[in-house]
């Protein structure tokens, strides 16, 4: 499906126009700061409108890529600029465009120095995020995917907390180390198929023995990005030191790039390897779910606790994806979107109290509900969403993942389910220690209630979490067709493998 004007390209690069505006701002410090905030907010708001218009015109029943733009960049080498979205990428494009203005609004007052550079970094980041999700050429994808490191390194490094340098380096080098292996795999695929066009590569049957290595290389990159145990250790550090808005985007969008990568590349392009690696991924995911939940229980730092909970939630996503059935994959997708909304709101919730008290130590709080009743409500809804309470998006995602996992492997499903219990434990405990209890300290009683800006950030996130928790159909309609076509790629191989295993069992039985 082609459009008459390059709407996706415009959407992707629109934030860069804002960067140019930001560069051109002149005047004294105060004027620059005010204008920088406004320009960033307006540009990202406009990007959101365009993304919503795109969503409005998106045809969920069309099997294939929509709004496709092409350019003949390096065309004679088989590498071309190509953008397009399907049901897998469309939700993430909208999610990126949705969270960026909220993130900018979240840092309205908390970022005080180098505001212009800060806003530039966020707008560049938005371009790169949207580009990552809508690129339909492997090289273009890699350019966007990898370039994300630059603004994120700067955001953590300049506006982060006390140990920001260590965290920024760790984030950068961990992610880079994973990605360069993917680069080698991309080169190898390019060498074999002669093209880097994603739709063409999806139909290119890679030899199963080659798939093994290609899968491993892609896995190295996506596992770090997700992050999966045991390569998750950069995430708590990055989250703790990143500014509030940085954490929102990091948890809300950047972590989804791993899951998106699995669905876009690993499953359809390397189906044989995906099936043979599924047990390993189940094991890693279960360890992630249980181990990081236990680690989360022991945290004193609110951000660190939520960061570890993100690793656990991403464990659900990988279990869902590698269960290779419609429920599991749809559940994983839903869980990613749901986690994008909830974790962004939770990190913002931490930021709200951090701005007031300048500590993230859980023991420093207690009885916040007395001073900030509205905050307590919003935080509770998000906390319950994270726990997976029915009626929130968290429930839909986790439930479907478990249904999918049950079909694939009952043991996996049982272990995954324990994660839900553990998740409830640490989140409820966090909530009790921070929000409930008697407010005894003077500084807690003196906490300012939520202002309009903060409510304005919480409100849309809360509405979406509840709305799609009750009516999840809206999101499933978007992606059902695309999920079905991914599963079509992998199902024959999967059934084959299953039959071989069964006949092996019967032979032994005889």
């Amino acid at each position: 499906m082609e459009t008459t004007w390059p709407v996706l390209t415009v959407l992707t690069f629109l934030p860069l126009v804002g960067v140019v505006f930001l560069l051109l701002i002149r005047g004294d410090e105060e004027v620059v700061v005010r204008n920088a905030r406004n320009v960033a907010l307006w540009v990202s708001g406009f990007t959101l409108l365009l993304a919503l218009a795109l969503l409005w015109n998106f045809d969920p029943n069309y099997d294939g890529y929509q709004f496709v733009d092409r350019g003949d960049w390096l065309a004679d080498e088989g590498i071309g600029y190509m953008m397009g979205v399907d049901g897998i990428s469309m939700p993430f494009v909208v999610l990126s465009a949705f969270l960026t203005p909220l993130a900018i609004l979240a840092s309205w007052h908390s970022v005080k120095h180098r505001v212009r550079e800060y806003m530039m970094a966020f707008l560049v980041l938005e371009t790169l995020m949207i580009g990552t999700f809508s690129a339909l050429d492997l090289v273009v994808f890699y350019l966007f995917f990898e370039a994300v490191l630059i603004p994120m390194f700067i955001i953590i490094g300049i506006w982060g907390g006390a140990r920001r340098v260590y965290s920024a380096f760790k984030f950068f080098l961990y992610t880079l180390a994973g990605s360069v292996l993917m680069l080698v795999a991309i080169l190898a695929m390019y060498n074999m198929a002669g093209t880097t066009n994603i739709p063409q590569l999806t139909n290119f049957a890679f030899d199963p023995s080659v798939q093994f290595w290609l899968f491993l290389a892609f896995f190295a990159s996506f596992a770090v990005k997700m992050p999966m145990w045991p390569v998750h250790t950069w995430l708590p550090d990055a989250h703790v030191e990143a500014p509030t808005a940085g954490s929102m985007i990091l948890a809300g969008v950047l972590l989804k790039m791993g899951g998106y990568g699995f669905l876009r590349f690993s499953l359809p392009m390397f189906p044989d390897a995906s099936i043979s690696f599924a047990p390993l991924i189940f094991v890693l995911s279960i360890i992630a779910i249980i181990y990081t939940s236990l680690v989360a229980l022991a945290q004193q730092d609110m951000k660190k606790l939520i960061a570890y909970s993100s690793v656990a939630h991403m464990g659900f996503v990988t279990v869902g994806i590698f269960s290779f059935n419609a429920q599991g994959v749809a559940g994983a997708m839903f869980q990613m979107i749901s986690h994008g909304l909830i974790s962004a709101a939770l990190f913002f919730g931490v930021g709200v109290v951090y701005d007031r008290l300048h500590t993230r130590d859980i023991d420093a709080y207690g009885g916040v509900a007395d001073a900030m009743p509205r905050y307590a409500v919003f935080f509770m809804i998000m906390m319950l969403g994270s726990v997976g309470l029915p009626g929130t998006t968290g429930f839909v995602g986790e439930f479907l993942v478990m249904v999918g996992a049950w079909q694939a492997n009952i043991v996996v499903a049982i272990f995954t389910a324990t994660g839900v219990i553990l998740g409830a434990t640490y989140m409820l405990w966090l909530y009790r220690r921070v929000v409930f209890g008697r407010a005894e300290k003077d500084e807690i009683l003196a906490l300012e209630p939520l202002d309009r800006r903060e409510i304005f950030i919480f409100l849309p996130l809360t509405i979406l979490v509840i709305w799609y928790g009750i009516f999840p159909g809206g999101i499933f309609d978007l992606m059902d067709v695309s999920i079905a076509s991914i599963l079509d790629q992998i199902e024959p191989v999967y059934l084959d493998a299953l039959n071989t295993a069964q006949s092996a069992v019967t032979t032994i039985g005889e």
Binding site: A75, V165, A177, V180, A188
Partner: protein, 482 residues
Amino acid sequence: MDLLNIQPATAEIFMALVALGLVLASAFIQPEAIAAKFVRRVTVATMLLAMWMCYHNGFMPSYAFNGQFFTSPFMVYMKVLILLGAVGILLMAKREFQGESIDRPELPLLILLSVLGMMLMVSANDLIVLYMGLELQSLPLYVIAAIRRESVRSSEAGLKYFLLGALSSGLLLYGASLLYGFTGHTSYDGIKLALENGIHPGAVIGMVFMISGLAFKISAAPFHMWTPDVYEGSPTIVTAFFAVVPKLAAMALFIRFTHGVLGDAVDSWQQVIVIIAILSMFIGAGGAIMQTDIKRLMAYSSIAHMGYALVGIASGISSGVSAVMVYMVIYVISSIGVFALILSLKRDGRAVTKIEDMAGMSRSHPVYALAMMVLMFSMAGIPPLGGFFGKWYVFSAAIASGQVALAVVGVLASVIGAFYYIRIVKVMYVDDETQPIDQDIPRSNTLIALTSAIMMTGLVFGLSFLRETVQATVPFVVFVAG
């Protein structure tokens, strides 16, 4: 093959004549400062003119001097790059020369002679001409490394460079003599024809000696020991020259020698180059981590970059050659930009080269810091900046020739390398300023650095043009007129 056909070599002959004229002129013009200015200007003009002559007279593949001199689009490409690099350095040198004790007419003059030697190296089609060109290139370099006579470090750098350089020239010469002995030819074409029916073990030894000598010239490991000391000790402008221009010439020679002369004997040199490439990438990346001096850091960085370029040569296929050429263009542009910035680092008028001196520059010099950041990320190979595409093409060639392990090792080395590049970004953007760097930065240097940073950012768009240009020249590497 007309003995008197000197047309293909017009640019070289012209440069030689101008250089001789300048020797006389600099002796007669007084005072020295005016002579220096005059020589510098004439040198720049000569180089620009030579560039045009190269392009105009050298594009058709043709021989001169009885087949000892050969020119083709490949040579023109490399020579134009060499000249552009030299002109860029001389332009940056304007401020550097003034007020320093190196403001002498000898410096541009020696650079001119050295560049002439490099052009001969590139065009040589005979081992003897090759050696002549190489020595004409090296001898002026030894002198300009030590041009700051009163500085012990500069003299030390010059002496070190001279001793090790002489050793490497000896290696190369010995290798050349073995190659001659076992093939019976000194001309490239003759050697190539002689090797068509298999290579004699003695010739292999000669070849390894020659590769070692060339590896010294591009400062590839394990022949890199001189680089950090020479880079640190020489005046910064000379370091910039060392880091950019001779590397181009030596790399061109490397390509010509391996893919041209030894093009039929890939198996016999491939593993040597693979080892040199891997060692260079890791020693370059590892050695730079602990450095506190930015010039030493750039020395290790250049070792690593040569390692990446050698990956392209090690592939042994023609797409590897074009990859190396793309890599070198990107390396040259970004190195010139970085050195333009290093040259502008002054405190109270005195040059400083410690990395921590750059602390907090993102506040005091925002444009400077931005350009440096772009160049550092580019050198680290982070997309979508230029440096990434250089790496993309060399590793692509490595994989196309089946050397997946080399590519994996290479990308892992680039992760180590990324550490020290982003450390500079961190120093500029995160650390607090200790002592202020002079506000007054020469505008020409800022302009050069910004141009370089913008080119690295915009390379995405110019990539297909660059590739087409390069690919058109590659067939001429192995060109033999028969």
